[in-house]
Each structure stands twice: as C-alpha cells, then as structure tokens.
Symmetry: C2
Subunit: 173 residues, 2 copies
DNA sequence: CCCCACTAGTTAGGCACCTAAGCACAAATA
DNA sequence: TATTTGTGCTTAGGTGCCTAACTAGTGGGG
C-alpha cells in the first residue's frame, strides 16, 4: 500500500512553541518562533509537492529547473554556469546532467574554448519534454497562489524577500 | 558572465516568467508564477540554511525535529507516532532513529503492549543535546523573522496558511 | 620557460526524503 | 480454530543536495 505523510503535520502550534521556550527558560517571542517554524514547514511542503508533480513526467524539480534554464539560455550552457544560475553546487549539476543525459534530454559536448570545459546542450527530446510539462506546470503554479488577491501577492512577495534577506544575513557569518 | 544584474540565484525574475509563458503560448499570470517560484526558492533556502545551522551541532533538521518532538511528548514515542507528527514516512523515521541511536541520543526498546512495536526513548545525552542547541535555535528563528512587525507576522502566517491550503488542494487528486 | 596557483568537472561519501516490498505480529473473519 | 487482512518496522533502491578530495587543463609570475 502507498505510504504518504499525514496531510496536516509538520505545522507546529503556538502552544508548542511556548512550551519549548519555557522549558529552556528562554526569552524568545513565541509568535516569531511560530512564524519561522511554519515557514520551514511550508517550504518543505511546497518542495515535496513539486517533486511529486514533476515525478509524473519522469522529472524532478532540479532536473526541470536545469532544462528550463538551458532553454532560457539558447539551449547551451556550461555546468558551472548552470550551477551558478540554479544556485546549487557543480557536483549537483553533474548528477542532474548524468540523469538527464541518460534519458536523452540533454547531451554533453567538449568545449571548443576550454580544454577542460564541457557544454551541456538541450536535445530535441529535452525541448519536447519542456513543451510537454509547461501547461500543467504553469497551471499548477497559478493554482497554488490563486487564492491570493493581487495586493496580497505583492505583500507576500515583499515579506518573502525580507525573510530571505534575514536568512542571508544570518548565513553570512 | 551575467550582463544583467541578475539578483540572487534560484530567485527568478518577472521577465523570466513572462518569457517562459510566452514561449509556450500559455495564458498564465506572470506575477502568480513569479510568486510561486519565489516561494519555492525561499523554501529551499530556508531549509538549506537550517541544515547548515543544525550541522554545527552534529544534527540535522530532521533529527532535531525528532528529538524535540520526543521531548515534547515525555521522551517516549513509537516510530509510527513520530512519523505522523513529523509529517514523514515511517521509513524516514527508521533512518533518523538509526542515526540518533548511533550517537546515543535516543534508544529503541521493544513495546510492552505490541509485540511488533518499538518505543523510541530520549536518552540523557539526547536531552542534553536539545538543551545545548535550544538557545541558538530560538535566537535564530527570532532573527529570521525579526525584520517583520507583529502585524506583518500575522499577515504572513495567514498568507502562508492559504498557500499551503492551495497546495493541499492540488495534492489531493 | 617552468612551476604553481587557480579553475572545470567528476568522484566518493553522507544525509533526508520517498516508494515498494518484505517480515513479524495482531485483529477480524469464516 | 484457521485464515485472511491489516499494522509496525525495516530493508532496498532511487533522487537531490551537500562537502571534500581528485584529475586535468589554464595561465600568470619568477
């Protein structure tokens, strides 16, 4: 039988936050802690749902993003450039390209300018795959935030950006 | 190199969204697509930063959450219960407990009520570890959303909940 | 001109997550 | 009572992501 995570979990309550803070005698604001925890839970949830979605097309979020980035760039890009624009390491790109190459959606060609470099090119099958996934993909994205008004979306975008900035500030140690 | 000051990686631009939609002749709203894409990027970013944070204590997000949930429950819980409250599969819990048991932060004991069941218990070392991590953990969470006013936090919480509801609606097919 | 530091890409090992399949035991049913 | 169905946990295999270490070219400075 199919195992899948219970729908509503991973979303902590305010009481839970309060209890944890109290247990260690800390002074953190429970609401702040709750918001952060919910954000993390939501992030995980969105990511997982996306994975399931792309899985139906024999892809994954990472693979789709690589393919889309490639097409957006004329269908030809080096692994290093891909890593930079996708925000992952080169090692991760190696793995993604390995998988996509196995499926014939992408191909590797030695670089003509740099003896140690590669160029990843989008094959016809890769372009077809993108064309295949696109309608559902965009419909899905629209459905996810469809419950928000235009003003709410703008607000959400702003809040999201500020939170990410907060994280970046912490990360830059 | 990137001629355009393409902000940060993984965070797509409105132009990019527009271009992709146009390429396939679709009718999606670029702003909606942008918000969804940014949410996914933010989720991934938050998750990764958390992983780095917990890594400094020899933990991971999953392991910490399991430990915290255990303590919140009197230090004793079955793998199935843990899976349900963490929102992951039992197989994942098996892996997490394997790791935590190896470090002595947790122990397995056969259930007295159910011959095929286990009970995961928090060891003294496990409780110590939680006590160790707590101050930085809560400070970090507070810092992340510290840039938001109380009202903004409430708004953010509401928007987040509605977006997650939208995802759940899509997932339930 | 050669050496050495830097860069491109891969490999190896680790973690978290998933699905699917397997065993063991429990509970419901014939 | 004997059988079937369901539940608890583990194992096996796959993906994505990371860091660290390695190979192979590039290119600058002594």
């Amino acid at each position: 039988m199919t195992q899948h995570p219970e729908p509503d979990q991973g979303a902590p309550s305010l009481d839970q936050a309060r209890r944890q803070i109290a247990r260690y005698g800390l002074t953190a604001d429970p609401q702040a802690v709750l918001v952060a925890a919910r954000l993390m839970a939501a992030g995980a949830r969105v990511g997982q749902a996306g994975e399931v979605h792309f899985g139906r097309f024999g892809l994954s979020t990472g693979r789709y993003r690589l393919l889309a980035d490639l097409e957006d760039h004329g269908g030809e890009k080096s692994p290093s450039q891909l890593a930079a624009s996708l925000g992952v390491t080169r090692a991760t790109v190696t793995g993604l390209v390995d998988g996509l190459e196995r499926e014939g959606l992408v191909a590797r060609r030695p670089s003509t300018e740099d003896g140690r470099g590669n160029v990843v090119i989008l094959t016809a099958r890769g372009a077809d795959k993108l064309r295949d996934v696109a309608p559902e993909h965009f419909a899905r994205m629209q459905a996810i935030i469809g419950g928000l008004s235009v003003e709410e979306r703008t607000t959400f975008l702003d809040l999201l950006a500020r939170v990410v900035a907060g994280i970046d500030a912490l990360t830059a140690d």
